[in-house]
């Protein structure tokens, strides 16, 4: 069957299946199992209302538990086992972790990930704050915002191509078509550099791609927060003779600290999962490996599910503090 046809069929089956499920299960509950009539009408209504939420929740909960909750435990189990020929597996304790910890490539990925974790959220937040503050002060601010926000819509792979062109290198003597080398030579650099192959520093050239994408996100959230600051506080500061910089750093920033933390943690999660950029631009060569790409390497190239799962668990471990923090805050808010 043609995939497009298959796609349309899936939409039809999926949508009508969902609607049908919700409609008929409700009908079944109200008309057949617990009809709100007869001698037990009151009791039936109570019972139906006890069950109904779960009817509404069932498909979503099934998807959540099968596609997100179950894999967490299964990955944990896989990370503690070794795959044997013939679909069998054997419990090996922490051997996979030991094997992983003895690999230099893993520590390289850890070091790079830590770098990413510091640099990308910091730069994105700073640029986002700057863009938000500046664009709120000029009339064409909305256009500026929308242009800075635009990279959000571009795929990591697309961004990788865009920046590969920026970083392109031509031999000395030929005209440079990568803008970075063109500027570098214009400013007096003596030799065009191949930016992505300079160990250690190339990490930063990869990070720039993510900063470029995430700044728009930070800007949108922070701009809303800046606008939410009560005018009186700013007025009072100006009356007291504060200059614009003091107003910004001493009045505005402290008041949006909560939002800055939210932006920071959200970008942190994106960074921990970053895969496409490294995969498409260097594939972890020249000391640019990161955890997510290391994991992909282990799982699908080396076919080593044990170590692959172990590295996935490391990513999970790094996310856990944020997870706990989010859940804690969400519960606090619900009360």
């Amino acid at each position: 069957m043609h995939p497009a046809l298959q796609g349309i069929l899936t939409i039809v089956i999926g949508v009508s299946g969902c609607v049908g499920y919700f409609y008929f299960s409700n009908q079944l509950l109200d008309k057949v199992l617990f009809p709100p009539r007869g001698p037990h009408a009151g009791r039936n209504i109570t019972r139906a209302n006890l069950i109904r939420p779960w009817l509404f929740l069932f498909p979503a909960l099934a998807a959540l538990s099968l596609y997100l909750a179950y894999p967490v435990f299964e990955t944990l189990r896989l990370s503690l086992t070794e795959r044997l020929p013939g679909d069998r597996s054997q419990f090996v304790g922490l051997a996979n972790y030991q094997k992983m910890f003895s690999e230099a490539k893993f520590w390289e990925a850890m070091r790079n990930n830590l770098l990413w974790l510091i640099v990308v959220p910091a730069l994105s937040t700073v640029f986002g704050l700057l863009a938000a503050q500046l664009s709120d002060r000029v009339r064409w601010g909305n256009i500026a915002k929308s242009l800075i926000f635009m990279p959000m819509a571009i795929s990591f792979v697309g961004a990788a191509v865009i920046f590969k062109l920026v970083y392109d290198t031509r031999p000395l003597g030929q005209e440079q078509i990568g803008v970075l080398n063109a500027i570098y030579l214009f400013l007096g650099g003596d030799h065009p550099a191949s930016w992505l192959t300079i160990p250690f520093w190339n990490n930063f050239f990869l990070m720039i791609v993510l900063v470029w994408i995430q700044t728009g996100f930070a800007m949108v959230i922070l701009s809303a927060a800046l606008r939410g600051i009560p005018e009186e506080t700013i007025e009072a500061a100006i009356v007291d003779g504060a200059n614009p910089f003091q107003v910004f750093f001493k009045i505005k920033v402290p008041q949006i600290m909560g939002t800055i933390v939210v932006v920071w943690t959200t970008i942190t999660i994106v960074v921990l999962k970053v895969f496409d950029i490294v995969f498409a631009m260097t594939n972890g060569q020249w000391e640019t490996q990161v955890l997510a790409n290391y994991m992909y390497d282990k799982m699908f190239r080396a076919n080593d599910w044990g170590v692959g799962s172990a590295s996935a668990m490391i990513i999970m471990l790094l996310v856990t503090p944020i997870l706990v923090w989010n859940v804690y805050n969400a519960r606090k808010e619900m009360r």
Partner: protein
């Protein structure tokens, strides 16, 4: 407030300038790709794209006709013609015969070549005349280095080749449709499933509700990476394997926490009176949901739809793991571009065009629906 601060006009200018600078820096890389996709491979390889927008001095190496075409006129051997093959002839600003000094001569100059045995004249429009008292030998013509002002020149050939050339096995047409096939069901189905759940979590009372909300918030940040192997195993065991169905299911599952979270947050904020009135009037939960909640929640549904669309369209990892098998028939655009980066790393005209084809749709959605995207972002970041 701004007028008070705005009294310092110097600062206002600084604000304008720095914002303009920021916007230019942010826009510059994408513009480069867009402009490059309209240039030929030669143009991209010989000059930076930023120079293509203005008439530029470009140097090229051409040859005179080969000695086969010489004519003998009054005892003088002559080769004549025009250096340019195409009909539009740029104005030559300087020329030379040695690669060490390509701009040695002005148009109209006559210089000695072939170790002084012959003379060459090149005029501004590329006409040349090569004269010698002895017959020319060899098979190739004289090399001439030209520097000429060429007007900006753009072409749609790249798009033609990437999208409509059926013999081009690296074309994007098939991948484009595959991406679309993945994206649309993977956007629509989770919305419906999540909307019902969000309603239950927002407006129905049952034990364990708070716990479930916390669970959703927790699952919001669980990295996709953990799900790859267990789910691939599962898909293989139940016979889905690597297929569209697998990709749709995976995207549905992975998008679910954000969908429920966004929609629930929005639905909680809907006015309580409407819902209670409807209940008093005897409406069932199902009716309330379909007739009241769904229409009122349109902005939230739209925000999530955009998120999910952008995410599935731009996704590489899920497609690599759950969709693309060894036959490569179901390849998506992101994967196709990664392949091109590997095999055609130097062919910028192909790369830029392919990348832009894949970027164009999300960009259009972005600019058309930006309002909903912003609203979704504001509601979706965990406060």
């Amino acid at each position: 407030m701004d007028n008070i601060v705005g009294k310092k006009s110097g600062l206002v200018w600084a604000v304008h300038l720095s914002l303009a600078l920021l916007v230019i820096v942010w826009l510059f890389p994408t513009t480069g790709l867009l402009v490059s996709s309209f240039r030929t491979g030669d143009q991209i390889a010989t000059s930076g794209w930023w120079k293509s927008l203005t008439a530029s001095e470009q140097s090229q190496t051409l040859r005179t006709a080969s000695p086969d075409e010489q004519q003998e006129i009054d005892g003088v051997f002559v080769v004549e013609g025009n250096l340019f093959e195409s009909t539009d002839k740029p104005d030559i600003s300087s020329w030379g015969t040695s690669s060490r000094d390509i701009g040695a001569n002005a148009p109209g100059d006559t210089v000695e070549v072939n170790k002084g045995t012959a003379t060459l004249t090149v005029t501004a429009n590329g006409d040349y005349r090569l004269e010698s008292s002895e017959a020319f030998e060899g098979r190739r013509g004289e090399r001439v280095f030209l520097t000429a002002k060429t007007p900006p020149e753009f072409t749609l050939d790249n798009y033609d080749k990437v999208l409509f050339d059926e013999n081009n096995r690296e074309g994007m047409a098939k991948a484009f449709f595959n991406t679309l096939t993945v994206t649309i069901p993977a956007t629509i189905i989770p919305i419906l499933v999540a909307a019902f759940a969000a309603y239950a979590l927002a407006w129905m009372d049952f034990p364990g509700r708070a716990l479930l909300v916390a669970l959703v918030v927790g699952l919001l940040v669980v990295p996709l990476q953990l799900a790859l192997i267990p789910l691939l195993k599962l898909h293989n065991e139940v016979g889905i394997g690597k297929s569209y169905l697998g990709a749709w299911l995976a995207h549905t599952g992975f998008g679910m926490p954000l969908a429920i979270y966004l929609l629930r947050n929005y639905m909680v904020g809907l006015p309580k009176d409407i819902i209670e009135n409807a209940k008093v009037d005897g409406a069932t939960d199902f009716q309330i949901f379909v007739k009241i909640i769904l229409p009122l929640s349109f902005p939230a549904l739209a925000s999530f739809a955009i998120f999910q669309f952008l995410w599935t369209w731009n996704d590489l990892l899920v497609a690599l793991v759950f969709l693309i098998d060894s036959s490569g028939e179901t390849t998506v655009m992101t994967k196709q571009i990664v392949e091109l980066l590997g095999t055609r790393g130097g062919n910028w005209e192909i790369l830029a065009t392919s990348a832009f084809v894949s970027i164009a749709v999300p960009l259009a959605v972005f600019f058309a629906m930006q309002r909903y995207l912003v609203r979704g972002l504001l509601a979706g970041s965990v406060k």
